[in-house]
């Protein structure tokens, strides 16, 4: 199946000379949830802004549903819902009016039943006649989501949906995302909460310095997450790993004071028992042992750190 969003060789250089995107290519499959991770200023918002038509690309192409976002903007933008990062709202409008306005703007005829459903799904219906300035930050965030869903988009962009949101609301937001996915909407969210990507995404992309550093199925990443590291501190430093331990693929650290053993904790045999026995047999005395699970965060920090 053709990807719902296809980005090829996208470059954006702002008037100031700042290059926000450097040759980004990315395909997004219909119905998936893609999380884009990256530090502030990585290019996440610029990428989304170009796909949604807010910012003109310098070069490269973006197709949404097979249509070019610049040439066929009417088709592509009608397919897209956008929830921006900032809580930008018309303070003096009512919830109902602002959500209905968004629907009209996307060329859809008024449909009070649909607006009602969207508001109910987001637990906003009892606030429909409230002015936006009367709502809490979390509620405003929901209104922005309602606006983005008002015109029944096929692709939904959530730019940092849970930035500055408390834990409960964040979990609520995840439920909303899960529900949306069940309706077949493709969701692209940016975040710098790795936990969030782990929780809800099908695929995770890491972006930094205007480049996509990695994009992988979460399952595959979870396999990497499953890797654990056993750190063995030694009484006496070793200069080399004894022959008998060669099969364990150990690495020496701390100038011979530590041995590092990588293993798969989800595997049937981790090899820890035999390794420890082998160490004892080789006459190596242990001072301490500890284990550590590498997280998506490690992968992220490593990638971002190395290529920044």
């Amino acid at each position: 199946m053709a990807p719902i969003v296809s980005v090829s060789n996208l470059v954006k250089t702002y008037a100031s000379g700042f290059q926000a995107l450097k040759d980004v290519s990315l395909d997004i499959e219909e119905g998936e949830i893609l999380a884009l991770l990256g530090p502030n200023g990585a290019g996440k918002t610029t990428l989304i802004s170009i796909i949604c038509g807010i910012v003109n690309p310098t070069s490269g192409t973006v197709l949404v549903g097979g249509h070019n976002v610049v040439k066929d903007f009417r088709v592509t933008r009608a397919m897209i819902g956008l929830v921006p990062q900032e809580l930008t709202t018309d303070q003096f409008e009512t919830v109902w009016n602002t959500v209905s306005f968004s629907r009209g703007l996307h060329g859809k005829k008024p449909d009070p039943a649909h607006i009602e459903k969207v508001l109910k799904d987001l637990s906003l219906f009892d606030k429909k006649d409230n002015m936006l300035r009367e709502l809490s930050g979390g509620m405003k965030r929901r209104v922005l989501i309602a606006k983005a869903l008002s015109h029944e988009p096929r692709v939904l962009f959530l730019d940092e949906p849970t930035a500055g949101v408390d834990v409960n609301l964040r979990k609520d937001m995840w439920k909303v995302v899960e529900k949306l996915r069940e309706t077949g909407v493709t969701i692209i969210l940016t975040t710098h909460y790795i936990e969030e990507a782990e929780e809800i995404a099908d695929r995770v992309g890491v972006i930094n310095g205007g480049k996509i550093l990695l994009i992988e199925q979460k399952k595959d990443l979870m396999k990497k997450l499953g890797r654990k590291e056993l750190r063995i501190e030694l009484q006496e430093p070793v200069s080399a790993i004894p022959e008998t331990l060669a099969s364990y693929d150990l690495t020496v650290e701390d100038s011979g004071h530590s041995l590092i053993y990588d293993y798969d904790s989800s595997g049937e045999r981790t090899g820890i028992t035999t390794l420890l026995t082998a160490l004892a047999e080789a006459g190596i005395r242990l001072k301490d042992i500890s284990t550590r699970q590498s997280s998506l965060e490690d992968i992220f920090v490593e990638l971002v750190g190395a290529k920044a």
């Binding site: 003109n56 956008l82 930008t88 018309d90 306005f101 703007l105 996307h106 060329g107 005829k109």
Partner: protein, 253 residues
Amino acid sequence: MNLEAVKSIYFFEMARTRRTLLQSVVSPVISTSLYFIVFGAAVGSRIQEIDGVSYGAFITPGLIMLTLLTQCIGNGSFGIYFPKFTGTVYEILSSPVSMTEIVLGYVGAAATKGMMIGIIILGTASLFVDLSIAHPFVMLLFFVLTAVTFSLFGFIIGIWAKDFEQLNLIPMLVIPPLVFLGGSFYSVNMLPPFWQAVSHFNPVLYLISGFRWSFFEIADVNPVISFAIIVGFLAVLMGLLTWIFKTGYRLRN
């Protein structure tokens, strides 16, 4: 053409007018009434007729123009500047609307509001002075054309403005002197020859003169020239707007 979007923007803007009814409608009516009291009754009672028209009636077209210009520029600029300021413009820019539709919505609403207030001023004026309109169609033509042109002018100012100071610069600092010196309260023929010549560089003179001609058939300049000046200004603004759309100036960059 995304008509739903044009309608949405138009009615959304008109709803803003309804919410700020007091400020939008009552304040221009009060200020116009003050002009009539000060210029029409107090000063005007000592001024003879100008070209056979009573002074109170003479200033009416100028007062309507003053209100129409300031209102249309104000509405047109605020309508697009405010979403830029609050950030809600993201939604307009990510919607399947062309710039033409955005302009139709915003400028249409700004012009409508300006014209509504213009008509109210005309009504208010008729309470103070005897008014007759010699050429109602020409009057309407000048009225609508001016409203649309200056709403468009306001829209461009709104896109250009980076802060509230810039937003208010032209409506507050440029338009009032041009209107006051453009023959709202006098006929330029009453000025010394040098200042008469200077006045002819003031574009607003042509607007007021043409508009006044449609009421009383008296004019400082030929009404055809007045008409040409407005249409010319409209054309310049359209050109500017086309450039703005093409480059994404201050919106998509």
